[in-house]
């Protein structure tokens, strides 16, 4: 049985490692400025963890294969040096790995979530609700109209609860079911939820951020490729969670300006 166990562990380890190395299932191509750092961090973690995974499993398998009871009265043997080398080795090796990953990783994380957005970033107000995303642009005046929860009415497509009759800043706000942004220009999203928790996830952007009711959460990024991507919800929000999606269209600046013009309320 020991040899069978060892064989299963070896096969599982080698097959799993081969699939990871093949990238048969892997992250989609990155389309953002900050994704480069995340991808590097992922690769470094994959290599260091992968080496630990393979060594641990193969050593376990080798020991199990080797040290079965044979009824020959062979005495037991204590691991050379006892537990001390393991404590020192694990603390130094894993500690060093932790230190490196933490230092590099916190820089990457800080670049996404702690850095200030570009002052000229395109601002988009994003509302999540069961089971859709809506995107609001400030219009020609560059200012968002005030949202009034009591005026929210999906039937008349007043998703944000705007009051254009009394609020002049709301009159030129543009509301879209898709996130349309220009390529290579920083974008600042302000995320807020209408009902329950949701999340904003675009794998190719390498960005994910929850919408939390009661909070307005900023997140900024720059898309570097002209593309159309799905935005999906990753925070369980109810029965239509699986189907909650929108599209993000990244287009050339001129085309984007033209799109904005076309969307402007008449």
């Amino acid at each position: 049985m020991g040899k069978l166990f060892a064989a299963i562990v070896v096969v599982v380890t080698l097959v799993s490692t081969a699939v990871f190395l093949s990238h048969a299932w892997w992250m989609p191509a990155d389309i953002s400025v900050l994704g480069v750092g995340i991808d590097r961090q992922m690769t470094e973690t994959m290599i260091s963890s992968g080496v630990l995974f393979v060594i641990s499993q193969l050593v376990l398998a080798a020991f199990v294969w080797r040290y079965s009871e044979r009824g020959d009265g062979r005495p037991i043997r204590i691991f050379p040096g006892g537990a001390a080398p393991m404590v020192v080795g694990a603390t130094l090796l894993v500690g060093a790995e932790i230190a490196v990953l933490s230092l590099v990783g916190s820089k990457v994380w800080g670049g996404i979530f702690l850095s200030r957005p570009d002052p000229h970033a395109l601002q988009v107000d994003v509302q999540a609700e069961q089971f859709a995303f809506y995107f609001r642009y400030p219009g020609r005046d560059g200012r968002f109209g005030t949202a009034h929860p009591e005026l929210v009415d999906d039937a008349s497509e007043n998703f944000f609860g705007l009051d254009p009759a009394n609020d002049t800043t709301a009159r030129d706000d543009i509301v879209s079911a898709s996130l349309v942004i220009p390529v290579n220009r920083p974008v600042l999203l302000s995320l807020h939820a209408k009902d329950v928790g949701h999340s904003f996830y675009v794998p190719a952007l390498r960005i994910q951020q929850d919408f939390v009711p009661g909070l307005v959460i900023p997140i900024h990024f720059t898309a570097t490729k002209i593309t159309k991507q799905e935005i999906v919800c990753t925070q369980l929000c109810g029965l239509g969670h699986y189907n909650m999606r929108a599209f993000m269209e990244v287009m050339p600046e001129k085309q984007f300006e033209q799109w904005l013009e076309e969307q402007a309320p008449q």
């Binding site: 299932w25 376990l60 040290y67 990953l101 702690l114 209408k194 999340s199």
Partner: protein
Amino acid sequence: MPDMSAAPAVPSGESARRAAHAPRGFLRKQVFSLDHKVIGKQYLDLALAAVVTGMVLSWLMRFHLGFPDTAIPGLEKLAPNAAAGGIMTPELYLSLMTMHGTLMVFFVLTTAPFAGFGNFVLPLQIGAEDMAFPRFNMMSFWVTFVAFLVLIAAFFVPQGPPLSGWTAYAPLSAIGKDAGPGQGTGQTLWVISIALFCVGQLLGSLNFIATTLDLRTRGMTFSRLPFSTWAWFITAVMALIAFSVLLPACVLLLLDRVAGTSFFIPAGLVASDRLQPHAGGSPLLWQHLFWFFGHPEVYIAILPGFGIISQILPVFARKPLLGPRVFVACLIAIAFLSYTVWGHHMFLSGMNPVSATLFSVPTLIITIPATIVTLLWIGTVYGARLRFTTAALFCLGFISVFVTGGISGFFLAQPSIDTYLHGTYFVVGHFHFVMGVAAMFGIFAGAYFWFPKMYGRMLDERLGKLHFVLTLIGVYCIFMPMHWLGLAGNVRRYSAFTDEYMQGSLPLHRFITIAALFTGAAQLIFFFNLIWSRWRGSPAPANPWQATTLEWSVSSPPPPDNFGRAGAPPVSHGPDEYGVAGPGGDYVMQAAPPQPATA
């Protein structure tokens, strides 16, 4: 490890009094019993009922994900509205997922390894006649049983069970039926069930702590305490703190639902076209309270497994555990650190991004004691004389799956990578390996090891080994591919994958479904073995494994008062003296007389 002097054993006068008042009648002996052994078995039977239910739910979910257009036979009859034509609706899928997670985390992974085995074995291992507070012990089980019934009742209420997951994030869980089907009565029952469960575990953990501190037999110093008892003791301390936080959190959530309070609900929410009549609450407060419980809960599920593996592995390796003091120190370090890491579940929740870095560091640091423990087990296998019983195989399997699950935690502990993997199947694969499969392997190891002591009969070893091999292959086929799905950005908690970029994952989902059904079928071997061997297994001797701890010094099953009127014998030896010349072979039992000093 402190060499604290042991408390005296239960006085013989007390023992005589108990013997004179031994319970008679089926109800007092088997149902409302005060005997820790009966209560332990009741917990294990409850966990068995929960795991069967939870597993069937997972089969239904997996079948739907793998074959979304194929009707599930009989499902329409069970749920005519939620599964018309045998195809489940999205809300039924989420309800099954919620109930699966809740049953498995609370009623299986907490109940079986901690309350179940702990109750049966701990007093025997320390030489006590019973738990310190037998009535609290009985109450603990029956409150947990009622909690289970309340949860199951959610299947039968209009609109069905809740769909907000085992984490019940507010405000989805707080605003009532405006949040969707299942969020009415079903969610209320969920909250009541979990609050009751907390009460049961608080009573149980107090008992474990008091029993370990006060009822050890003569000579059972902390340095001679069996590793499984160490783990149950430390787990009890963790449970006492963790469930003390979850209980009031559940009460607050219940008040938000039924009394109009707003602990977790902010102002200005519009759900089902209705402005919600709440203001001033914080959804993040629920997340903080829940995960302050929730992350230690991961270790409440797995630490008993650590103890069980460290207890059983030396028995079948025929050598002592490598670094016993280091092992106990690591358990204590893990228990302490587990209370500093809860925010890693909330990296993307909108809390201050600086705190993500602060929560990330202890999350990574906790891997150091976990790595050391793993190395101690592998080092114990080195130079061993391994006897490949089913219990030993599950110990070895535990090491393998724990390594796999632990290593994938390295990714999720880093906020900069979690920003991609959070909310994907990578997380599902990770936690199923590390707290699901590993904890289950600990339970299986414990079951094959202590079954003879519980029922006086042996489990069939051939069936056990077949069960082990199929399960080991099966769990790797289920949960390793989930990591690949996560890398491809496949989102969890989806009842169908309609997004274009997820279409490439569908064949892998089908493979996982087939593997899950195959592995589930393999568990039928275990269930058959349990039932058949309980009455037809070969009779078990007192010490079938040539083990050293005190439970193996009494008959199988033990007498009602465990050690007879004289009480437990004094202890003169450590818990894992294997590979030495003893009176019965290559081991010395803890209760063996002290060896004469050599000149």
